[in-house]
């Protein structure tokens, strides 16, 4: 296994710069998840690491070796594609052993490694089947098996679970987590799914428009997002944002009222700020004084024990608050919400976190 280090990476397609100055370290054995909106360059970054896409500038090293000019095969990586990309004219065993065949590995060893991977992934009864005779989940496991048998330094996954149904996705997610422990593998993993990102990652990298917005441990991103983009991207439903102004004693939210907050050193009275608060840190009819906002209920969504209330604030802004149990609210009811002072986020006019 090996560390992947990316320095000042740039990639342009013609005049369009898709990756802008990416710096990223994937520690040996770490599970790094890339997230970001569609088109932000996640796949391009992954394909650059794989060597499928030549980079415009910057350095990529794998295990201390600069790989910029090496072909994919020489980089000792294995990639699992969203579409699985199994060879349709070969059976499962041949698919998994295909790369080894061309690396000149002895037949007996290929068979042993394929059998080993098949055992780990429970593919043994399927070895003689063609890809078209497999279900989506089985194909996915074959694609992972094909990566395992080559014993690569780094595994690259591009949205491997997005074609699976919800139940299978959870299963396979758990399998991948186990596999990571078992193989002690270095993994770079692209996903759209928040839950996958939060549960699998040692480190999440949030990308936006070709840049890294923030990287860190999942909970670090959740509790201390570095800017508005990350705050809005991590967490579901998304964080509520309320525009306001800094006052000597707290934050003035205009029509929504003034909140008394201990202000951090960086907050200059009179400057514009955005107050962020997650739905789970807004309590309906709570009692915290000084941090209350009146609201009208627009919609109540019940998901069972928990649910969400969509609120219209006096300023006209919409906010979502989490509820537990039956709070006895209906559309049109007037109520108030209390903000949890321990979990408020303040962002400056430039979008960066103040506190």
């Amino acid at each position: 296994m090996a560390e992947v280090r990316i320095e000042k990476l740039r990639k342009s397609f013609g005049a369009v710069e898709v990756l802008k100055d990416i710096d990223l370290t994937v520690e040996d054995g770490a599970f790094v998840v890339l997230v970001g909106p569609s088109g932000c360059g996640k796949s391009t970054l992954l394909r650059s690491i794989a060597g499928l896409e030549p980079v415009s500038d910057g350095i990529i090293t794998i295990g201390g070796r600069k790989v910029n000019d090496l072909a994919p095969a020489q980089r000792e990586i294995a990639m699992v594609f969203q579409s699985y990309a199994l060879y349709p004219h070969m059976d499962v065993a041949a698919n998994m052993g295909f790369g080894l065949r061309f690396a000149g590995t002895p037949k007996a060893e290929i068979a042993a490694r394929v059998a080993e991977a098949a055992r780990i992934l429970q593919l043994e009864p399927l070895l003689k089947r063609r890809p078209r005779e497999l279900s989506g989940g089985q194909r996915q496991r074959v694609a992972i098996g094909r990566a395992i048998v080559r014993k690569p330094q780094v595994f690259l996954f591009d949205e491997p679970l997005s074609n699976l149904d919800a139940a299978l996705r959870i299963n396979t997610r758990v399998e991948i987590a186990k596999l990571h422990k078992l193989l002690a593998a270095t993994i770079v993993y692209v996903t759209h799914d928040q839950v996958e990102a939060m549960t699998l990652a040692d480190k999440i990298v949030v990308m936006n428009q070709g840049r890294v917005e923030q990287q860190g441990k999942p909970l670090e991103l959740y509790y201390r997002p570095a800017n508005l983009f990350v705050a809005g991207f991590i967490g579901s439903p998304a964080m509520n944002f309320l525009p306001g102004k800094v006052t000597p004693g707290g934050v003035d939210l205009g029509a929504d009222g003034a909140l008394a907050l201990p202000l951090p050193a960086g907050a200059v009275p009179g400057s514009a700020v955005t107050l962020g608060v997650r739905p789970e840190h807004m309590r309906i009819a709570g009692t915290a004084d000084g941090l209350r906002i009146d609201a009208t209920v627009e919609l109540v969504e019940r998901l069972g024990e928990m649910g969400y209330v969509h609120l219209r604030l006096p300023s006209g802004a919409v906010a979502i608050a989490e509820i537990r149990g039956d709070v006895g609210l209906g559309t049109g009811d007037r109520t108030s919400v209390a903000l949890d002072p321990a979990h408020l986020h303040l962002f400056g006019a430039d979008g960066h976190r103040i506190a």
């Binding site: 499928l52 990309a85 199994l86 004219h89 295909f98 061309f102 690396a103 063609r130």
Partner: protein, 275 residues
């Protein structure tokens, strides 16, 4: 599901077309088994016991040179198919996969060949073949036919290659295959149905052609079967029994080739490749 009425209409039209297409062939085969008088008196009747006469076949099989003409035709056809498919698939792969400077121009140049009939260049071709000392050789025919069929082959095959998911080629690249091996072990197996199509398109005109055999290999035992049959067509007298029998037997080899290729056509090989 289609509505039964429209399904019936489709089948009726196809059936009618099949009848039209098959009618002359049936006529040739039927009459090849009849006595000469019966061919002219009752051309539309199947051979009856009193009109049955295999004389045409005994003349064809009795002719010592005809087997060689068959062999020549088969050699030329198979050789052409092989060369067309090999060079065509390689060119199609290069044109659709690799970005290089003259890529588009080259593809355009090749597609011009689809529109311009090669026979316009017959005089130049004869000169070229003569210069190369290839007159009266099968090599000349194979080369000319390959040139004739290559443009369409490249066109069709590159369409098919473009449909192979990019992920498959990249998976192979990650698996460490060289570009040649990707072509041989991934691309070629996956475009087999397309190659069968091209083979069928190539084979029929080549097998039936009279023009180039007449120009490039008219004598010296290198005649193709279409040319060989001409010996039964005299200026004053034509041996219709033999002509019909020779034409009937000439169907067999193309039919066999067609059956071989059509088996490839039916299978949808790419299914299950992705998602």
């Amino acid at each position: 599901m289609r509505k039964p009425a429209s399904a019936f209409a489709v089948h009726a039209i196809l059936g009618l077309y099949t009848l039209l297409a098959i009618f002359p062939i049936v006529l040739v085969i039927m009459n090849s088994f009849k006595a000469k008088r019966a061919i002219f008196n009752t051309p539309l009747r199947p051979p009856l016991p009193e009109t049955f006469d295999p004389i045409g076949y005994s003349r064809v099989f009795g002719d010592s040179s005809l087997p060689f003409y068959y062999l020549n035709s088969i050699t030329v056809t198979v050789g052409t198919i092989f060369l067309t498919l090999l060079t065509g698939a390689m060119a199609a792969w290069a044109l659709s996969e690799y970005k290089f400077r003259w890529n588009t121009l080259l593809a355009l140049y090749l597609s011009i060949g689809i529109m311009v009939p090669i026979r316009l260049g017959s005089v130049a071709i004869i000169q070229l073949v003569a210069e190369m000392n290839l007159i009266n050789t099968l090599t000349a025919l194979v080369l000319v036919y390959t040139a004739q069929n290559l443009p369409l082959a490249v066109f069709i095959l590159s369409e098919f290659i473009a449909q192979i998911p990019r992920d498959l080629r990249e998976a192979a690249r990650c698996d460490g295959l060289s570009e040649y091996n990707i072509f041989l072990h991934i691309i070629l197996p996956l475009i087999r149905p397309a190659m069968a199509t091209v083979a069928v398109f190539t084979m029929i005109p080549v097998w039936n052609d009279l023009w180039f055999p007449l120009l490039l290999a008219p004598t010296g035992g290198k005649q193709t079967i279409t040319l060989g049959v001409q010996q039964f067509l005299g200026q004053y007298i034509t041996d219709w029994n033999a002509v019909l029998a020779a034409l009937s037997t000439a169907i067999v080899p193309v039919l066999v080739l067609y059956v071989i290729f059509s088996r490839q056509l039916i299978r949808g090989l790419t299914s299950g490749a992705v998602k």
